[in-house]
């Protein structure tokens, strides 16, 4: 490697470190500033809480074991809705692909449901599905299912026409075309839609927990609001931020693992 190249690489590394440093700086300054302003009563700690209070609350939640129950509940609902959403999305996308007339018929309805703010359906869902976990799952499905269907279906439509012709020239039937071409080809589309899907699912689950629940991080937040314990609300939000970040990272990891095996 030439001296010049080494220099450029070193510069690039330095820039990377600088970016990480700047990010940490922003986070730390934010929390310290918040703490100081709250301590000095410049902002009302009753409404804005403070980092130390939030950490203390989280610590107490951990000690009482409550935190794990909430995290477990939200996680469980999210994973369940995620798996159901992807599987149903997959099956429905296949049906739409195999029956183009069906796809044309329901196209405007899909668009309509997709553009509807799903939370508006909350009250009805509760009545129909019951004030329990079912409603939360349904809420999450409403949000992630349409996205799954459209994503996977569009992946199917994007399959190279030449390859379909090739299989037909071998005498392949519809099921063989699905098995040998459409599904493996859209595996990439499905994988790349996992990330957006998990985010959508989490939104749905938290929305569902806002509406009905006795457990879960959404519940923690809504409960805190009801008893006007803003520290609890913020503790819930902080936990949610960490949780969603972790989920996202796990899905990214899965995505990488799946896409390397061609």
């Amino acid at each position: 490697m030439s001296e010049e190249a080494k220099k450029i690489i070193k510069k690039k590394k330095q820039k990377k470190y600088f970016i990480i440093f700047a990010q940490l700086f922003i986070v730390i300054t934010f929390f310290i500033g918040w703490e100081i302003l709250a301590k000095a009563k410049v902002i009302n700690p009753f409404i804005f809480s403070s980092p130390s209070r939030i950490l203390k609350t989280i610590y107490e939640l951990i000690l009482s074991g409550e935190l794990w129950i909430h995290i477990y509940t939200t996680l469980y609902e999210t994973i369940l809705a995620f798996i159901i959403g992807i599987s149903c999305g997959f099956i429905i996308a296949i049906l739409l692909y195999e029956f183009p007339t069906l796809a044309k018929i329901i196209d405007p309805f899909l668009t309509m449901i997709n553009s509807l703010p799903k939370v508006a359906l909350g009250p009805i869902i509760i009545i129909w599905a019951g004030a329990n976990t079912n409603s939360i799952i349904v809420m999450a499905l409403l949000i992630n299912l349409i996205v799954s269907i459209l994503n996977i279906y569009n992946g199917f439509l994007g399959v190279d026409e030449t390859k379909i012709k090739l299989l037909k020239s071998f005498g392949a039937n519809k099921i063989q075309i699905l098995k040998h071409l459409i599904i493996p080809e859209s595996k990439r589309t499905i994988i790349s839609s996992l990330k957006i899907n998990i985010s959508m699912t989490l939104i749905g689950v938290i929305m569902g927990e806002f509406l009905v629940s006795k457990k879960g991080i959404g519940y923690l937040i809504i409960y805190g609001t009801q008893v006007f314990n803003l520290t609890l609300v913020m503790a819930g939000i902080l936990v949610l931020i960490v949780l969603s970040f972790l989920i996202y990272e796990v899905v990214s990891f899965i995505e990488k693992k799946l896409s390397t095996d061609r």
Partner: protein, 249 residues
């Protein structure tokens, strides 16, 4: 009678949402066993449509074609290699056999032999993206040969390649076809390529196409496509076909 295929007054109209497009007016010709016959015609005149019909992928609006062989096996090769990126080269080559439920030990051995014969053995376990365009096209040909076709339909099989590989690969493909003695209908928009590879050339009119002329190609000292371009009759055929095609640029 040594005809493998008779095509009789085939007509093809496409019906879209708005209109009816007449793609093929009427096409009749016969294909002799073992020959390479090339269709030339301006782009959009209906060449691919005709091959799709013969391949059984599409139906003719009118007319018929008849193979003088029971249950003929048809090998179809298209413009791009259409290799599946998630399969190895070897698995790609077995695709047709799998579809036709003929993926037997014996046939697998045959495919391996093809790889060996055409110097692709060392690439069998590689993935398509690791191969050059010319190699991929040869793999596509092996995939087609694997099902032991009675007739080969080649739809501008080299048009995605650059000029150099195009010459080399068409030369290779020609040798393979001749060695395996497979009857071939090829489509090309390259007159020189057509003359250098074919036993006969069918010149089609503009859309909706009909058969304008059929040339038997006699070249002195006929050998491989690259050498054939040097034959003394070459320019004569070229000029005639060029005139027939009536190309304006």
């Amino acid at each position: 009678m040594n005809n493998l295929l008779d095509i009789h007054e085939i007509k093809k109209n496409y019906i879209t949402d708005k209109e009816e497009i007449e793609a093929i007016k009427s096409i009749s010709f016969s294909v002799k066993k073992g020959e390479i016959i090339t269709l030339v015609g301006s782009s959009g005149c209906g060449k691919s449509s005709l091959l799709s019909i013969i391949a059984g992928i599409d139906h003719a609006t009118n007319g018929s074609f008849q193979f003088h062989k029971e249950n003929p096996i048809i090998g179809y090769m298209l413009q791009n290699d259409a290799l599946f990126p998630w399969l190895t080269i070897y698995q790609n080559a077995l695709l047709g056999l799998k579809i036709q439920k003929k993926n037997t030990k014996e046939n697998q051995e045959y495919v391996k032999k093809l790889f060996k014969t055409y110097n692709l053995e060392e690439f069998m376990n590689k993935y398509p993206k690791e191969l050059s365009g010319g190699m991929k096209q040869r793999v596509a040909l092996i995939r087609t040969l694997a099902i032991k076709p009675d007739i080969l339909l080649l739809d501008e099989p080299f048009s995605a390649l650059d000029y150099q590989s195009r010459l080399a690969v068409s030369d290779d493909v020609f040798k393979i076809i001749k060695r395996e003695k497979i009857t071939t209908i090829m489509v090309s928009h390259d007159i020189a390529e057509a003359i250098s590879m074919s036993d006969r050339i069918v010149v089609l009119s503009k859309r909706p196409c009909y058969v304008k002329k059929i040339y038997d190609i006699y070249l002195t000292n006929k050998q491989n496509p690259i050498e054939n371009r040097k034959a003394k009759e070459f320019a004569d055929y070229y000029n005639k076909i060029w005139k027939d095609l009536d190309i304006f640029v």
